[in-house]
Amino acid sequence: MRLISVMRMETPDETLALAAAGGDRAAFAALVTRHYDRIHALAWRLTGSAADAQDLTQDICAALPAKLAGWRAEARFTTWLYRVVMNAAHDLRRRQMTRSRAADGWGDWEIARQDEASTEREARLWLEDAMARLGPDLRDTVALVLGEELTQAEAAKVLGVSEGTVAWRMSEVKKRLRRMAQEEAQ
């Protein structure tokens, strides 16, 4: 048993995914356990909301078996997974829009805990402010490039845009952060 799980840990994602797509339950379990945190982290970086991130992760996990059945190993598993998360987040945004909730913001997390250290709170507020200025496309891009440390090429694949677009978006992010810093300085 232990031996098997060790082997599983070393098995590449792609191999596990193929096995899981073919109905290998243990492979699927290993895969989803291995990537749960990754899914959750990206969901949080995309939404800025602990509640949304949790729901999104739940829904993605639930949808994974069916999604995986169509796995064709055409991309790296993580790229594919990031794309699944990205699409789920977009879908969430769309639905939030139909409920006429502000789908535009990033953040919206619970009221800060009273005992939160003031530096932490400051950092969090800064992040919320910065993300709000970026708009959905730029937020998605920084979540991947800065948050997940994907290369621009990988991020482009996940986002379904060209590398040039990602590069442009990152330069736009820089510009806006600079503007934000200038405002702060004033």
Binding site: D59, A63, L64, P65, R72, R93, R133, G160
Partner: protein, 663 residues
């Protein structure tokens, strides 16, 4: 500057709020539960994550939705499979009522592949479906909504990213996506357009061809107009449209022109004029205009319409299902008592919503439309098959049957294999039931699949964003969309090297045919419907023109033209509906063909507008202001105000692009 980025990186990499062990367990549990449901495996095998509290209640539904959504998850495959002649690149082809089925752009460099699908399986994960209330389907709120959308105008896409793309079209399919990103005005946060999963079909812009090397240009007709609508919608929302959404032939063909009507029994007539190119003094434009015979409305055959309506959760937006209902209501008064209407819904309220009903019974039809509700994830399996069955029941001798699919892009029609779907549609086309596709709403618009379906169904693919557009597409053009005059219409122009050193077809990239396809009646092409018009523009350069881009060959063989004065020779092939053999029409193109009238100048202005939008290298010193001036001076009668609208959109594009220019 990098400090800012580092700061953002650090903040983003700070550990996210912990999901909580219960949430984690619940998610893993749901995953395993669905895995078991899917694979029918026994529970509780070795290393499955376990949890003491099971809460996989939503999962069964989701798994069901997924199975249903999977089918057409890869539109690229679908598009590629429509290509009858496998040639260099898989080009997605389009059309309304004329559609070529072949895509082989002469110079497309990539090996066959699906366009723009970097990663497989990009379907959005559908989570719980909201059951929000429908907006009332009246016209007023619709317009309000559009106005609201344009409020944050002047968002600024990246000017420099356009400049980066060397030929303006090549790799900037993706640059377009960047352009969607809105940039806030000073100090305030402009709402950016929502991220989208749209997928547009396009191919690399046509290059200049050297007549001596490649004297013959062949393409299929296109009367589609979806691209114009998408462009308009983007501009009104305050962003320049993604370059890959710009298809110049569709822009030009959006507008009605006063071409002479065909004489006698001919289904259409070709009209050619040659005039100076507005954006280049050293070249000339050759406009080829085809006018389909105007429909004899009085003796049209009885019509059977089956509306196949997507009622999936994503249709639950004001610009989707409510607008769709409104659009369909608009068509009712255009129908005759002997016409029949049926409604089939897939996803949501699935099944036959309205059994075949006489079109005169507007009360029943209207009530059925009211019953349609978006939401839920009921499997829409066999939606399309069902629609065809209903259509077959309605068909009578000499009647015309059409299935009109209305959707926002989720083609979860319940057929798992794209080629199977294509086969089904093609087979029904042969039996006389055509399929048209109406796209609603932006954000999930699957242009590629939409075009591929309509093209195989000999139908029209149109995108509807406002009640006004619904009227134009469904009402004004109902007759054309529904009554084909000629099938497989192909155009071939042979240029005379003595008069034309270089030429370039503007637009029609997705419609290119191989030279040999022209005479091959098995190669499919576009259809032309009653009253339809098609316009194609070539830019040609005379051998002695200073605007010539290539040098003459030193050792080139001397051409021996039959008639040195002719610019070229136009050949058209078409098949009468129901006929397997094509008819040929031939006419020389001479420099004396009619000079530029208002129609020709307006078409040129629109073509120039399209090239400005795509950053075409062929439009150098000519700018938005020139396009506006040209279009303004060529408005003509414009009874429906389409041209005024175009001029206003050009102004909007001008402001947007100026707002983006690097300072």
């Amino acid at each position: 500057m990098t400090d800012d980025l580092d700061r953002l990186r650090a903040a983003l990499q700070a550990p996210p709020p912990a999901p909580g062990s219960q949430a984690r367990m619940a998610a893993l549990e749901a995953a395993m539960k669905n895995f078991d449901d899917l694979h029918d495996a026994p529970q509780g095998i070795a290393d499955a994550p376990r949890s003491s509290e099971a809460s996989p209640k939503r999962s069964g539904l989701l798994s069901g939705v997924w199975t249903m959504l999977k089918p057409l998850a890869r539109p690229g495959v679908l598009a590629a499979s429509t290509s009858v002649v496998a040639a260099l690149a898989a080009v997605v082809v389009f059309s309304p009522d004329w559609m070529p089925r072949v895509g082989a752009p002469p110079l497309a460099p990539q090996p066959a592949a699906a366009p723009e699908m970097p990663v497989a399986e990009p379907e959005a994960v559908v989570v719980a479906t909201p059951q929000a209330k429908m907006a009332p389907a009246s016209e007023a709120p619709m317009m309000d909504m559009v106005a609201e959308e344009s409020a944050p105008a002047l968002a600024s896409p990246p000017a420099q990213s356009r400049a980066e793309a060397p030929t303006g079209l090549a790799e900037d399919a993706a640059v377009g996506a960047a352009i969607v990103a809105a940039v806030p005005m000073e100090g305030e946060i402009a709402p950016a357009p929502p991220a989208t999963t749209e997928d547009f079909a396009n191919a690399k812009a046509n290059h200049v061809k050297v007549t001596a090397e490649e004297p013959v240009s062949t393409f299929s007709i296109d009367v589609d107009t979806a691209s114009w609508t998408v462009i308009r919608q983007s501009l009104n929302a305050g962003t320049l449209p993604p370059a890959e959404a710009v298809r110049i032939e569709e822009m030009v063909n959006y507008f009605p022109y006063a071409y002479p009507a065909p004489e006698g029994e001919a289904p259409f007539r070709a009209d050619v004029s040659v005039f100076e190119t507005p954006w280049n003094a050293g070249t000339r434009l050759v406009r080829i205009g085809l006018q389909g015979r105007l429909p004899a409305i009085a003796d049209r055959p009885a019509l059977n319409l089956v509306f196949l309506i997507d009622t999936s959760g994503s249709m639950d937006e004001p610009a989707k299902l409510p607008l769709l209902k409104q659009a369909l209501r608009l068509t009712l008064p255009q129908l005759r008592p002997e016409d029949q209407v049926a409604i089939v819904a897939y996803a949501g309220s699935a099944g036959v919503v309205l059994e075949p009903t006489a079109a005169g019974d507007t009360g029943a039809v209207s009530a059925a439309l009211d019953r349609l509700q978006a939401g839920g994830g009921t499997a829409g399996a066999e939606g399309l098959t069902l629609a065809y069955e209903v259509a077959a029941r309605m068909a009578g001798d000499g009647e015309v049957s059409r299935v009109l699919l209305a959707t926002d892009g989720d083609f979860n029609l319940g057929i798992s294999d794209p080629s199977e779907l294509i086969d089904l549609i093609a087979q029904k086309r042969e039996s006389g039931t055509y399929l048209s596709v109406l796209g609603f709403g932006r954000g999930n618009l699957d242009d590629v699949t939409m075009q591929a379906l309509a093209q195989n169904g000999n139908g029209l693919a149109a995108y509807i964003d406002t009640a006004q557009e619904a009227r134009k597409v469904l009402v004004d053009q109902l007759s054309g969309a529904l009554f084909p005059l000629a099938n497989d219409v192909k155009v071939q122009v042979e240029w005379n090297p003595a008069q034309v050193a270089e030429y370039r077809l503007i637009g029609y990239e997705t419609r290119a045919l191989n030279r040999e396809d022209f005479n091959n009646d098995r190669v499919d092409a576009g259809e032309i419907g009653a009253g339809h018009q098609v316009t194609a523009l070539y830019e040609i350069t005379a051998p002695e023109s200073p605007a010539r881009l290539t040098d003459p060959l030193r050792y080139g063989s001397e051409p021996a033209p039959i008639d040195a004065a002719e610019l070229g020779f136009l050949r058209l092939r078409y098949k009468a509906p129901g006929s397997a053999d094509s008819t040929l029409i031939e006419a020389p193109i001479t420099a004396q063909n009619a000079p530029a009238d208002a129609d020709a100048r307006f078409a040129a202005a629109i073509a120039g507008f399209g090239q400005l939008l795509t950053g075409s290298p062929y439009v150098q010193d000519w700018d938005w202001a020139d396009a506006i001036t040209l279009a303004e001076g060529a408005r003509g009668d414009d009874p429906f105000g389409y041209r005024v609208e175009a001029v206003n959109l050009m102004r909007l594009a001008q402001s947007l692009s100026q707002a983006l220019s690097p300072r």
